[in-house]
């Protein structure tokens, strides 16, 4: 809402505060003043002048005039490109040295072969309008030499206020002025107190639907369709951010801006039969003022006459009954519609209008007659119209009376407000208050947001000032600290960073193409109904698309060695629709809550990583990704094992499965060459993904680790080199050795991998060192050899391993 201070001041007599002080006071009271616009302050040296003569200069691409302008003290010669003025017209004249908006300074110059000693100004050039067709012609009796800024009262400030949904009444100069009066403790001149004559014998209006509980219709006749809006009216509209259109439209807009009551003007001669406000019938259509032919919904509240819908109630009028340049008979509508109905209709037809904005937030239903009267008076005064008969169908329900303990505001704020303070503040917002300790409060008609004690409390606290509220730290009961899961998730993140990875936070929106390129279309991710971009219309079922996008960006910025990780939710499954959505009057039943949760897609938290370039002095390989995941497991006191995998988006020969107690929890691999090509990431890039929820869950279940018995007896180490076929996984051989070597095995490590003619084609030698130790004695050679032989035999059994050198 844009509120010119020149419009506001007459409603708050005695207001001497500066615009900035007014803005600041409103901010303190809870109105969001986004900006104070200033007009006319940057115009200087423009005076009233009379055109003495006009000489048309020919031979130029456009008409050029050479004139003499009398500004009283002297006569200036000037060259002008506009043609909408005549000899004798009085115009604004910028003398040499004058300044126009934007710091544009006027100087004497040579142009079109003449001296131009100033400038005749248009409205746009004076900052009065966005654009203007030609020179601004002033009233002929304007005294020559007078400062135009003074004459036209161009200097003004406009408060630009962002209106929150609860404060519909501040979508009017009236509502803002009331707040200003309260803030400065000044009297308020309510423009809504206009007395309407008794209305009877007017147009037939029927309200069968509760969506409209009041409808005032006034007939205005004999309007001069050619009567222009006076400058003051146009100026107010422009400052308030609306475009002047015609007198009738401008008047309805003026009343709406001043009082907050949207009005609609029908061309009376186009109406057929009584006006009925009802819901649209199935199949009905309406061509609205914006020339859109709209299919109406049976929920839409419409104004109808005998032919059917003629306006979308409270949202937009219809084209057929629109006033035209010839309209002289008008039916003025000043009505009150149910906010939620207007919200639904405006949203359904994507038609947010000045009217719907106000009705959605609640218009003062008591104002309908006064607003209509205000418009009628203006049309009579400015358009030569005659007020005809009126109708006021009034089905307003009685306003509820609220009960408020006088001590309640103080108990909410933690401030000791007196009863008098509470009553005074409530009366300032317009409430009628009675009672001693239990206050009976009737909120004013323009505050439909005041529906309960909490809302009344807020009025008292905000007007008294939030800065009065003391600062007290509450004492919470002893807490349990972070949950085990929360601590473990921190540990997981630290482990990944310690492994050399840099965390990224990416958006969860992905495209079908990206999923197809990655072979991740096996998941069934949720789809967004209104995505940011049509391409990225899915929610990520995997962290890899986002990570690879970030990898690309890093590489694109010239980084070669990139190591990224992300932890976060992914989304799988479409979710479902809940049939029985709970109300909000009370706690939902356990079944209702379970149904709400069951409707959500599955949202596991994963950890993902991508690597490219070099790491640890050599090119990254799948082993790097596997190692990071194993390190992540170790950080959570979990032992992950490695198996062979073959899943997208990985190279089938370079893909690992990570298992926890035999169940897959993650994958790692080198990206498939096709994926590399499709995404444009560096070849041989490596990625991995693991179910962080599963790891953390397992770590929580595992509980605290048990201390080992650290043996002081001497160890015995033996080395074995086993020849196995090269498709046998080292991890499998190791697992077999560990399993068979028995309890005496303390440590096992692979220290050499050898391929060559000595071990045969298609085979490799894996050399392990095994360290044995007993907890209660020094081992004999025989015990050690027996354990070693058992391990080797098991490896031979399971993997066809042959002991080298045996």
């Amino acid at each position: 809402m844009r509120v010119p201070l020149s419009w506001l001041r007459p409603l708050v007599p005695g207001l001497t505060a500066t615009p900035d002080e007014v803005a600041e006071a409103l901010v303190r009271a809870g109105l969001e003043v986004e900006q104070v616009h200033r007009y006319g302050h940057d115009v200087e040296g423009v005076v009233v002048g009379r055109v003495l003569d006009v000489e048309e200069l020919t031979g130029h691409k456009k008409p050029i005039r050479y004139c003499h302008v009398d500004v009283g003290a002297r006569v200036h010669e000037v060259v002008c490109g506009a043609t909408n003025f005549a000899v004798g017209d009085v115009v604004p004249f910028a003398q040499p040295g004058a300044v126009l908006p934007g710091g544009f300074r006027i100087a004497t110059r040579q142009t079109y072969g003449r001296v131009s000693d100033g400038m005749i100004c248009s409205e746009a050039e004076l900052g009065l309008a966005e654009e203007s067709a030609g020179i601004l012609v002033l009233p002929p009796d304007s005294p020559l030499g007078t400062d135009v800024v003074e004459l036209l009262q161009l200097r003004d400030e406009v408060l630009d206020i962002a209106v929150t949904p609860d404060r519909g009444y501040t979508l009017s100069v009236r509502g803002v002025a009331r707040e200003v009066a309260t803030a400065f403790d000044l009297p308020f001149q309510d423009p809504g107190l206009l007395e309407s004559p008794p209305l009877s014998g007017g147009y037939d209006v029927r309200l069968p639907d509760p969506g409209c509980d009041r409808y005032v219709a006034r007939v205005v006749e004999g309007l001069d369709p050619a009567a222009p809006s006076p400058a003051w009216l146009q100026r107010r509209l422009v400052l308030a951010g609306m475009r002047p259109i015609s007198l009738a439209v401008d008047v309805t807009n003026h009343v709406m801006l001043e009082l907050g009551q949207p009005l609609h003007a029908f061309d009376l001669d186009t109406l057929r039969g009584p006006v009925v406000v009802r819901r649209a019938a199935a199949g009905e259509r309406l061509r609205t003022l914006d020339d859109q032919d709209r299919a109406l919904d049976p929920d839409d509240l419409v104004i109808t006459d005998d032919r059917g819908p003629i306006a979308l109630a409270g949202v937009m009028g219809g084209a057929e009954t629109e006033i035209s340049a010839a309209t002289s008979r008008i039916l003025l509508e000043s009505a009150h519609f149910a906010p939620s109905s207007i919200t639904r209709t405006a949203r359904r037809h994507r038609l947010p209008s000045e009217a719907s904005k106000r009705f959605e937030r609640g218009v003062d239903p008591d104002l309908a007659a006064a607003a209509a009267e205000a418009a009628v008076r203006l049309l009579v005064e400015l358009g030569g119209a005659v007020a005809g008969p009126g109708t006021d169908v009034d089905q307003r329900p009685a306003r509820p009376v609220l009960t408020l303990p006088a001590s309640k505001p103080g108990r909410v704020a933690g401030v000791d407000y007196s009863r008098d303070t509470v009553v005074r503040r409530l009366e300032q917002v317009g409430c009628a208050v009675s009672g001693a300790d239990e206050l009976q409060v009737t909120p004013p008609s323009w505050r439909p947001d005041l529906t309960g004690q909490a809302e009344l409390v807020e009025e008292v606290v905000r007007l008294e000032g939030y800065e009065q509220v003391p600062v007290v730290l509450p004492v919470a009961p002893a807490g349990r600290g972070l949950s085990a899961e929360q601590r473990l998730r921190r540990t997981a993140g630290r482990a990944l960073a310690a492994a050399g990875l840099v965390e990224v936070v990416t958006t969860p929106f992905v495209s079908e193409q990206a999923l197809t390129a990655l072979g991740l279309d096996r998941f069934d991710p949720p789809r967004l109904q209104n995505p940011l971009s049509e391409e990225e219309g899915l929610l990520r079922p995997s962290l890899l698309p986002g990570l690879l996008h970030a990898l690309q960006r890093n590489v694109g910025r010239g980084l070669h060695d990139v190591a990224l990780y992300e932890t976060g939710s992914v989304f799988r499954g479409r979710g479902s629709v809940v049939a029985d959505v709970p109300g909000t009057a009370d706690r939902p039943t356990p079944e209702q809550l379970a149904a709400l949760d069951a409707a959500l897609p599955v949202q596991p938290r994963l950890a993902g990583l991508v690597l490219t370039g070099r790491r640890g002095g050599r090119p990254v390989a799948v082993s790097d990704a596997v190692e990071v995941l194993l390190a992540l497991g170790r950080a959570l006191s979990l032992t992950l094992t490695v198996g062979r995998g073959d899943v997208a988006p990985y190279h089938p020969g370079r893909c690992a499965l990570l298992l926890l107690d035999g169940s897959p929890v993650g994958t790692a691999g080198e990206l498939h060459p096709r994926t590399v090509a499709a995404l444009g990431v560096p070849p041989r890039s490596v990625a991995a993904e693991v179910d962080l929820d599963a790891l953390v869950g397992a770590a929580v279940v595992a509980g605290p680790a048990r201390a080992p018995h650290v043996s002081p007896y001497p160890p015995s180490s033996v080395d074995v080199a086993l020849v196995v076929a090269d498709d046998v996984l080292a991890a499998d051989v190791e697992r077999t050795l560990r399993g068979a070597a028995g309890e005496l095995l303390e440590h096992l490590a692979l220290f050499d991998v050898f391929t060559g003619p000595q071990v045969g084609e298609g085979h490799r030698s894996l050399a392990y060192t095994l360290r044995f130790r007993a907890t209660d004695r020094t081992l004999t050679d025989a015990e050690v050899l027996a354990a070693r032989d058992a391990a080797v035999a098991a490896a031979a059994d399971a993997h066809g391993a042959v002991l080298r050198g045996a």
């Binding site: 949904p165 906010p339 939620s340 937030r361 909410v412 704020a413 933690g414 309960g452 409390v457 807020e458 939030y466 509220v469 600062v471 007290v472 730290l473 509450p474 919470a476 009961p477 600290g481 972070l482 949950s483 929360q486 921190r490 993140g493 050399g500 840099v502 965390e503 936070v505 990416t506 958006t507 969860p508 929106f509 949720p526 789809r527 967004l528 109904q529 940011l532 929610l539 996008h549 890093n554 990224l564 990780y565 976060g568 989304f571 479409r574 979710g575 629709v577 809940v578 959505v581 709970p582 909000t584 009057a585 706690r587 709400l596 949760d597 959500l600 949202q603 790491r615 640890g616 002095g617």
Partner: protein, 367 residues
Amino acid sequence: MPAPDYDPKQVALLDPSELEGARDAGLAAFAAAGSLDELAQARTAHLGDRAHVSLANREIAALPPAAKGDAGKRVNAVRRALQEAFDARREALEQERDARVLVEERVDVSLLPGLVPVGARHPLTTLQERIADVFVAMGWEVAEGPEVEHEWFNFDALNMPADHPAREMQDTLWLAPEGSGLVMRTQTSPVQIRSLLERGLPCYVVAPGRVFRNDALDATHSPVFGQVEGLCVDEGITMAHLRGTLAHFAKEMFGQALRTRLRPSYFPFTEPSAELDLECFSCRGASTRPGGEPCRVCSSEGWLEWGGCGMVNPAVLRACGVDPERWSGFAFGMGLDRTLMVRHDITDIRDLYEGDQRFTLALGTEA
């Protein structure tokens, strides 16, 4: 038995001048030895079994008892002098050798061919942990909720029924199909509802997390951003407790230096409601004073919006089965991105979400 007339001075080996000569020769030889090998040879010559001093020592036994003491002192003095000179020289030569070897073994300790550089966690992550720690230290707990949420949690229970204009204040991302009732949560406030339903009373929770809006990514907007929600519901909670909590939180985040301000505002789920403003970290309000330089960070308003807060609306309590006559509470929500921007002078929000590892490495090491 030695001859009684035997005069030790007659024995050439024991002649004092001979002994001195042998000593001097030995000292000279040791001093001249340029290596441990040469020194070993000089030792054999001057301290070995066949050396003058050793032979002289042997002669002492043959001397008459009266002469033995004198001769023994002389020989021992010489032997000690030689031994000390030898030890000193050996020590010096060994040191020279060791120094040479250590110099030869020098390596470039800054050359780290196998280095895996340390990574970093994202500043949004470390900030969330820091915030959680501030509240956990006060006895609060950390609550969580899903990112795809049912509208009942994200809107209805927060006093935003379907036709409420407040739903228009947030550009909501809805899941298909139309009417699914599922949204990308637009705020962390649904965690308030889940906390009240699941945790019981009193309830002191803080919930950092990611939220989503249908906003294109630019320097100051992101479709994904971090938020932290706080909720306190207990008996006798007032706005004074809200102010106390926010003041403590702001001090922990920004130190004493930045002032905060509560400004009346509107949120459906709180009543009374307030915007929480932070003094502009860049101009500290100077841009609003007459003649002040315009401030790009706060658009010369002197304040930055940090978050919203207020007393929990009784309608919200009722939807969670909490009796508003007995319990009251406050809630607040702040942008984590804005918090980070203020703490670290970040001017472009995209840096947080583009994943450039140079950015995160510089910021993500904070514990």
